[in-house]
């Protein structure tokens, strides 16, 4: 027998009460860790994905949709814009670089982006193997794509029309892997990069197979001339901050294209989701406080109702400190188990949620287990439990053994 065992016996002496404290504490810990992990995962993902993109020029429509589709690659594009018009804007001296992108195809759910050599530097992506795209129908794979699809240099595959895996029409021209990027931990990891011409070419030939695709019919009319070619959007980075104020307005007012600032749109998005995160966080803190009160009541009840037992232990030779330890270990043990169960719950929850998310957007990566946050919450719980214990022990210290033993009934 020892102090720890006595604490455990106390916990099992009132199993339902202990279980209540444990479950409510574990749920609040799980919620706190889970919500923070999810929030940072999504936030980091979004912030990372925009890379060095200061502005996106695309077809008119929802600005958020343009950001989601062209920067994060998780939504459908707003439409196409004429390449020539976009290039004209790119000549503005305030613009450092302007990278056209064009997309609409996928391979096993991974998006194929037609672009120029300027795309990879936006995400600081470097080649790990092979070379960059030099001819149409060559592709460089993002690191995750190569890893998940087990593709290597020299492999060929057929792309499918549409942005999701289920898209039925398969194109007939094979794409050849010529390079693989190093992990950049940004959206480029999950993209297949090719030349703009590949997209145009595929859709030009594709047209003969799908007569009913009206969009492509328009495209076909002048595809040889640069002037009539279309791109989905243009990713722009500025030379000077003053461009933030002037350029978007200029484009939005004077052309039939729209210009959006991804960082601004992202901030707006977080404001919406932030309310939900805040609400869940406060709810979790409330549950945390309630469960600590439950633990306090449980410990205090033990000290009060079982004063005779404790006095008895004192006559056995137990010191005050040992009795305090019995109570404290009980609290800490429940806290520790609850923390572990909470961490487990949060990870199971995260896994489940991201499993669902993965089906819709292949791009979002779950953030690695946030040890720092889990430990922060652990420290908070430790502090709350210490407070509960501190409030529960004064009756032990004030205990008059003689009095308790002679008033036995």
């Amino acid at each position: 027998m020892n102090i720890g065992k006595l604490s455990i016996k106390n916990i099992f002496h009132k199993p339902l009460y202990s279980l209540l404290s444990l479950i409510s504490l574990a749920i609040s810990i799980g919620l706190l860790i889970g919500i923070r992990q999810m929030d940072t995962s999504i936030r980091r993902h979004f912030e990372n994905s925009t890379g060095k993109i200061d502005m996106i020029i695309g077809a008119k429509g929802s600005p958020l949709q343009l950001v989601l589709s062209s920067a994060l690659h998780i939504d459908n594009p707003t439409g196409n814009i004429p390449y020539r018009q976009a290039k004209k804007i790119a000549k503005n001296p305030l613009i450092k670089s302007a990278v056209p992108i064009s997309y609409g195809d996928n391979y096993k759910g991974y998006r194929i982006v037609g672009t120029t050599q300027g795309f990879a530097p936006l995400y600081n992506a470097e080649l790990q193997k092979g070379r960059s795209v030099q001819k149409p129908m060559e592709v460089v794979l993002g690191h995750s794509v190569a890893e998940k699809l087990k593709l290597s240099i020299g492999d060929t595959f057929l792309s499918s029309h549409g942005l999701v895996e289920e898209g039925a029409h398969q194109h007939s021209e094979p794409l050849t892997v010529v390079g693989i990027y190093k992990p950049a931990y940004k959206v480029i990891d999950r993209l297949i990069i090719t030349a703009l011409e590949s997209i145009w070419e595929v859709h030009h030939h594709g047209h003969h197979d799908n007569e009913h695709d009206k969009h492509e019919e328009h495209e076909e009319e002048g595809h040889e001339e640069d002037g009539h070619k279309e791109i989905t959007s243009m990713l722009v980075s500025f030379r000077s901050p003053s461009a933030f104020l002037t350029l978007p307005r200029q484009i939005n007012e004077n052309t039939n294209m729209q210009a959006v600032l991804p960082k601004y749109e992202m901030e707006r998005l977080f404001q919406y989701t932030g309310v939900g995160v805040q609400a869940i966080t406060w709810l979790a803190y409330t549950v945390l406080v309630i469960s600590c009160i439950t633990i306090f009541i449980s410990l205090f009840k033990m000290v009060k109702e079982r004063a005779f037992d404790l006095a008895l232990l004192r006559t056995y030779g137990a010191s005050n400190l040992q009795l305090v330890k019995i109570v404290a270990y009980e609290g800490f043990l429940i806290g520790l188990i609850a923390w572990m169960v909470g961490v487990l719950l949060s990870q199971m929850g995260m896994y489940y949620i991201f499993e669902i998310l993965q089906e819709n957007f292949k791009q979002i990566d779950i953030q690695k287990f946030p040890w720092q946050e889990a430990l922060q919450i652990g420290v908070l719980v430790l502090f709350m439990i210490m407070l509960s214990i501190t409030m529960a022990i004064p009756p032990i210290l004030k205990m008059n053994i003689s009095n308790i033993l002679s008033n036995e009934k």
Binding site: L6, N10, R306, L313, Y316, N320, S402
Partner: protein, 209 residues
């Protein structure tokens, strides 16, 4: 061996204090303390047991004066040298019989010896309830467990507070016999305080408060 010298005690906020006759027992000697209710019997017992500190005077067990010990040393000394038997015996309710015995030994800093404990439980007719919970015990079993918990660590002094007042004649005799037998085995002094005159014949030495 136990020896007390001119001890007095006064409860805070209560009028008159108590002053107690000196007690002096050699090894193997037992004492009966008789007195009506409210005369301070339990107070005397708790003073000897070190649970209360006298205002004046001192208590010696073997050669140790309880009043010179620091609080932590006193806790340890009580745990190792004194066994208390209560009128209505209680044990720690979250533990079973055997766990109570082991807990007692743990706090008294005495190693668990399976043979000795089994022998003791045999003498007290408790071997069948080793694994029983406290609330499953009969009144008689609980009383005998109380005695077991008071003697299992081989104390120098066994102090019993009204151990028989709620018992019928037959049980009264058996409890006293057990107490005397355990005191004998452990070579301990037994001090019983009671208002129960039935047990007078069991003791050679007695004092009246």
């Amino acid at each position: 061996m136990i020896h007390s010298q001119s001890i007095t005690y006064r409860y805070p906020k209560k009028g008159d204090g108590f002053s107690f006759p000196d007690i002096s027992l050699k090894n193997g000697e037992h004492l009966l303390v008789l007195g009506a209710s409210g005369i301070g019997k339990t107070t005397l017992l708790h003073l000897i047991a070190g649970l209360l500190t006298p205002n004046t005077g001192s208590v010696f067990i073997e050669k140790t004066c309880l009043q010179t010990l620091k609080s932590k040393e006193l806790d340890r000394f009580i745990g190792q040298n004194i066994g208390l038997v209560f009128q209505q015996n209680r044990a720690v309710t979250s533990l079973n019989v055997m766990e109570n015995i082991k807990t007692r030994l743990f706090f008294s800093n005495v190693d668990y010896n399976h043979d000795e404990v089994s022998a003791l439980l045999g003498q007290l007719n408790l071997e069948d309830c080793k694994d029983k919970k406290i609330n499953e015990l009969s009144v008689g079993q609980l009383q005998r467990l109380g005695i077991a918990l008071a003697v299992v660590h081989r104390p120098k002094v066994i102090l019993a507070d009204e151990p028989t007042s709620s018992l019928d004649d037959k049980n009264c005799h058996s409890v006293l016999n057990l107490l005397l037998q355990q005191a004998e085995i452990n070579n301990a002094n037994l001090i019983v305080i009671t208002h129960d005159h039935r047990i007078k014949p069991f003791f050679q030495k007695s004092i009246m408060l």
